[in-house]
Amino acid sequence: MKKITLASDWLEGCAGCHMSLLDMDERLVELINEGLVITATPITDLKVPAFGTDIGVLEGAVATDHHEEVAKLFRERCKILVALGDCAVFGGINTMRNYIPIEELLKRGYVNTESTVEGKIPQGPGIGKHLKKCMALNEVVKVDFYIPGCPPSADAIYKVLKDILEGKTPELKEELLKYD
């Protein structure tokens, strides 16, 4: 049986799309039985996709230099790149920050929050720096397939993965195509 490898990661997202991925339940096992091999994901020790991974799946918008790096890495190492969920597909709710200056935004979040005492804005080499604008994945790298939805339904994710496994071009229609 031909093995198809899949790696996934999340950028600026809420992990809801990955929850939907898990919501495929027994169909995830079915896909694995049909040859899908899940490699690097946010819950595995291996975080980085190997060169030549068949499918890269990214959730979340591109908001920091770290996200940009991960997006480019996935593009470089994966044959097919899938944008999973509204944030990766369109930019999503994260783009609301594009209309507020970054300093003001961070202050509001880390210092001026009503419940915060002596807050400070976290800084350091491990923390990504905000890009000027929060973007959809396709504004940074080329994307092959899109699964919109907030979160996308397990059915939509299943359909796309199944199609790829079967060598078909995935296409979402009717009930499977949703923007919310």
């Binding site: 944008a83 509204d86 597909v89 369109f90 930019g91 999503g92 709710i93 783009t95 594009n98 209309y99 973007m135 959809a136 396709n138 504004e139 994307v143 899109y146 699964i147 919109p148 907030c150 296409e171 979402l172 229609k173 009717e174 195509l177 949703k178 923007y179 919310d180």
Partner: protein, 549 residues
Amino acid sequence: MGKVRLKIDGKEIEVEEGKTILEAAKEAGIEIPTLCYHEKLLPYGACRMCVVEAGPGALKPACATYVTDGMEVKTSTPEIQEVRMTVLQLLFGERNHYCMYCESSGNCELQDLGYKFGLDHFEFPPYEDKYPVDVSHPYILLDQNRCVLCRRCARACAELGGHFVLEVKNRGYQSLINIDLNNQFAQSSCVSCGLCVQVCPTGALVDKRASYLGRKEQAEVIKTNCDRCPVGCGIEVYRRANFILKVYGDWDSPINQGVLCKNGRYLPLYEDRPRLNAPKLKEGGIWTQISPEMAFKVISEKKGAATVFLEGSLPLELLQAFKSALGDRVFALNEVNPPIPSTATLKDLEDADTYLVVGVDLNERYGVVGSMIKRRVVPQNARLIAVEAGSLSGITDFSYEYKDIDTALGEARKGEKVVAVYSSLPEGISERLETESGFKYLFLPYEANTMALKELGIEHKVPQEKVKIYVGENISSARSPGDFIVAFTPFETPELKSVADLLIPITWYLEDEGTFITLEGKKVVRQRVVTPAEGVLTVEEISSRLLKI
């Protein structure tokens, strides 16, 4: 009118001259996607979703191109579909169309098109500019970030409502909906008819109260009639569980064709007077809750001495029930008879050239009649002579006070088809008005069901008796020592409680089925849309209890 033969997608069809390609295609069962088009509005051709191939040259908007003999139309070649997809991409990309936090998601014509065309990502980096949001209006929210500039709102406000509040300002991507001249909604000339919200295809104009309370597919839509005034407009009530989400105008109604006014669309949903949920009796200054049996026992005891005063806001069945039970001691609380009887119908408003509106502000009451007049007056298809007509005087050069009634009449007489529109008239004025032989008269009854009181032969009388039974939603009464005052009412206001002795709860608005007779004398039925709270007595319950007293 002549016929025109043409071919659409190879299909030979014959339609009446003067139709658009879109209408012709519809007749032939061929669907063309649209966005800015609205059946009740004039063609505008702004969005270009409906482009078709029709002869040489550029693609043409089907909604704004008229059919010609021998025309050959193609509606969905791959080229056309590609153009439409690009149009959609531009529409989605220009402003904020992140559906996941939009109130209109699931009820949006732009989103529907996105789904239909399989749009699964944005081709163009979206939305760099932040557009204004106006939250100042009590009932409506305008978020220009979701606007697709279809101009439906402005067209409906003008063409259907006659209000001319909205327009589009600026050019290109900087275009914005303009309220009056750069006004905030709350300070504007908007009369809150809500038409703009009803026609907006996107989440740009939303109903504040209904927001996030449920989507269209989660609501049931019940068609019925508005009982807030004697126009009796057709309404569509959106209900979820036992809650009214919103009221829309019924496009198919022969009375109002979709148009509503503030009193019909918004006010009843914002009603905040405290509800009476059980009969209550005042003894020694203390109110105690009693059973309905007990309440009707009191009424039965007082029956011999009691006089009943009915509001004209009540359904025919309830008026009838009191009349059968108490016969000649039943009166109307308010005026019933017209100062001058009606000779006109609403249809006569459609082609009049002169409207003489006397003593009534049609922006405040009978709003849909106001729309029927304003939408012809403002584009100068007809003249308005306003005599003490409140805010209506703002749209006419012919505005008079009662003392100048003769000048006003003289001005009106210059018209060929004159309709005089009035409700109550002060003494002296009706005598002046009724002698005009060339005029048609449209009397606007005082209350929603004044016409039913009239049909039942119930006359008006000023309450003076010692034992009074009032029935209605706006009861107020004077009180003298020794009085006994009963009120059948939906509301227990402090004012009413300070004068009344016995309060009996009745249903209100869409809580009960009931017949209303409109100003044209048509019977319309107000449906029960929501179940009344426990303890509130329905028309049926009251009727059967009245039979036994």
